[in-house]
């Protein structure tokens, strides 16, 4: 019947993952975004090894090196590529350490929110009826408030701290995920393969986790990348407003805020460079997310 089919697993390029990879690499901007993002992540993870100095170890700072413009040479002969702040802190090193905090906070809150949103959204879609109505009204209530307002209120109530910022970001973002996955799950739930799982007598738990969730995940990957970007931006905003992370864990937003006061004095590098780093991170994430959305959407997917 099919003797000419080789007795092997299908080649990687024919698996859903393989098709995704080949579609993704077809767009140069997406690849650019991907490598940009990769660079940012590597910088963040290996900051202590890449950074010329530890900006938060006061022993390594020298007041004599303060307020140097980019490219200056310090008292010890070291070059400050992006200049220093008033305490002689290397801006490049600060950015690397700041990226670390920003990415960690952004990713942690996006993933926790993703988890909560998935559970809530799947329950709403699968259970339907009153459960669905109650959950979705709550989601709409949440979404009707501006994100920044909710985050500010929560931080004001909970106080400062990395965990509290993450909590505030999760509180702001879970509703997006819940609404999105509910919509996806409602569509999938009506498909015949879910009916087939009922005929096979599977438990609700199995149907939702093994069949419904995997089929809702691909479009959600997009939302996750976008939401990581928006979590980072929101955290930067909160830090800029002075209600973000504690001073001991300065993020990019805080550095921008700190440098802001010196803009008029001509020390542009204190704000601009952390700002560029933030921009680069968010644009990379969005490029990757945008293109993922295009290739995961069957309507815009090239064949």
């Amino acid at each position: 019947m099919s003797g000419n089919i080789p007795v092997t697993k299908p080649p990687f390029s024919q698996t859903p993952m393989g098709e995704l990879v080949s579609d993704f690499t077809a767009n140069p901007f997406a690849v650019l975004g991907f490598f940009g993002l990769l660079a940012v992540i590597i910088c963040a993870i290996f900051a202590p090894y890449i950074a010329p100095q530890n900006p938060y170890d006061l022993m390594t700072l020298d007041f004599m090196d303060g307020n140097l413009p980019p490219g200056s040479t310090g008292g010890m002969g070291q070059v400050f590529m992006l200049g220093t702040d008033d305490q002689g802190r290397d801006v490049w090193s600060s950015i690397l350490y700041g990226l670390r905090t920003s990415l960690a906070v952004g990713a942690a809150s996006a993933f926790i929110a993703f988890g909560i949103g998935c559970i809530v959204g799947l329950i709403a879609a699968y259970a339907g009826g009153l459960t669905d109505t109650l959950i979705m009204r709550l989601v709409e209530l949440q979404l009707s408030f501006p994100a920044i307002l909710i985050a500010m209120i929560l931080v004001a109530v909970l106080g400062q701290g990395t965990d509290k910022i993450i909590l505030a970001l999760v509180a702001v973002q879970w509703a997006y995920y819940a609404r999105t996955i509910r919509g996806l799950a409602l569509v999938e739930k009506g498909r015949e393969y879910i009916e087939a799982t009922h005929v096979l007598g599977f438990s609700h738990f199995r149907i939702v986790l093994r069949h419904l969730l995997p089929n809702c995940i691909p479009p959600l990957i997009v939302i996750v990348t976008m939401q990581v970007a928006s979590a980072i931006a929101l955290e930067a905003t909160l830090s800029f407003l002075g209600i973000g992370l504690p001073l001991t864990e300065p993020s990019l937003g805080q550095q921008i805020a700190n440098g802001y006061g010196y803009m008029q004095a001509g020390r542009y590098w204190l704000s601009i460079f952390p700002g560029v780093a933030l921009l680069f991170t968010i644009v990379s994430l969005n490029l990757v997310g945008d293109h993922l959305r295009d290739i995961l959407n069957p309507k815009t997917r090239r064949q």
């Binding site: 099919s2 080789p6 015949e192 087939a196 199995r206």
Partner: protein
């Protein structure tokens, strides 16, 4: 007949179109009354028995409620009237484990297989979850199922979109078969396939039935397929059963005008040029079925009685027909 495997009594199911909150508000404001709820009687007072090892064909036009009957029997939806008993037990009261003996093959194999799970895993999942065979024998058991269904085991590693339509439907059949069913509901299992593949799948279904003593409820609008595969045939029109009896007898010598019209509309291979006789008129809206016999607006034999009173299903020789003026 021996004790029936499946017995359907006065089965009915209606679907209510709930008006939206806005429509209710608008109606309350303008007329002061709640809007009339529109209901479709998708299945209306249907009764039949199915013996062990028997194949019953269920035929009728699109929208006549065939698939709803299938979904009622598999428990995907619940009836609001009548009852289904399986081996003497009411289906609604049965444990899930016993319901597994009723399996289903769906019309669209691409839509009914999980797109993100390897085909082999999908066949194995049900067997594993319900311990159909001991875990140690699972591999051999599946190999046997694949061989029976004419599936190349290599394809088990693939995803549904990577195999051909015919192969996909073989997996759909294998999934049902792996649960060791007594009764398989086939909901137009070949309608989505190429004609050349249809014959293969139908022969496969016929062979499996022979070898395993399966009972089938075979839903189709292809009368030739039903004649080939089924012992008995039930004809549905607008949610009602209008004729039921021996397949060859009913299809070659129909007594209900609708069955006759269906037979005339089915294409046949002859050497002569033939005129295609379509059933005149459209199928009436199930939201607003005609008075009397539902078929009367399209029936050439309709009398005043047909227009005022709905005929009951009556014995007519070895079969049952719901018609005031049987042919």
């Amino acid at each position: 007949m021996t004790a029936p495997l499946l017995s359907v009594r006065n089965l009915g199911r209606k679907f209510v179109q709930k008006p939206s909150a806005v429509a209710v508000a608008a109606s309350l404001l303008t007329t002061g009354k709640r809007p009339v709820q529109k209901a479709v009687r998708a299945v209306n007072d249907i009764s039949f028995d199915l013996g062990p090892g028997e194949a019953l064909g269920l035929v009728g036009e699109s929208g006549c409620g065939k698939s709803t009957v299938a979904r009622l029997i598999t428990g995907l939806i619940t009836p609001d009237q009548g009852a289904i008993t399986y081996k003497g037990e009411t289906l609604a009261a049965m444990a899930r484990k016993d319901r597994l003996k009723i399996q289903m093959v769906f019309q669209d194999p691409l839509g009914s297989l999980d797109p993100r799970m390897r085909l082999g895993d999908q066949i194995a999942e049900g067997v594993r979850v319900h311990n159909i065979v001991p875990a140690a024998e699972l591999k051999d058991y599946l190999a046997g199922i694949f061989a029976d269904c004419g599936i190349d085991p290599v394809l088990a590693q693939r995803y549904p979109h990577q195999v051909s339509g015919g192969q996909r439907q073989r997996f759909g059949i294998a999934r049902a078969l792996a649960m060791k069913p007594d009764l398989v509901i086939c909901d137009e299992p070949v309608a989505a396939l190429d004609v050349s593949i249809q014959a293969q799948v139908i022969n496969l279904l016929a062979r499996l039935r022979r070898e395993r003593g399966l009972s089938y409820i075979f839903i189709s609008h292809d009368l030739n397929v039903v004649r080939h595969l089924c012992d008995r045939v039930a004809v549905m029109y607008l949610g009602k059963l209008i004729e039921i009896g021996d397949a060859a007898e009913v299809l070659s010598d129909p007594r209900h005008p609708y069955t006759s019209a269906l037979g005339d509309a089915a294409p046949r291979v002859t050497l002569d040029a033939q005129e295609f006789r379509a059933i005149k008129g459209e199928i009436p809206s199930p939201l607003n079925p005609p008075k009397g016999c539902f078929f009367n607006p399209r029936c050439s034999l309709a009398t005043d009685l047909c227009r005022s009173e709905a005929p009951e299903l009556r014995d007519l020789g070895a079969r049952k027909v719901a018609c005031h003026t049987p042919l």
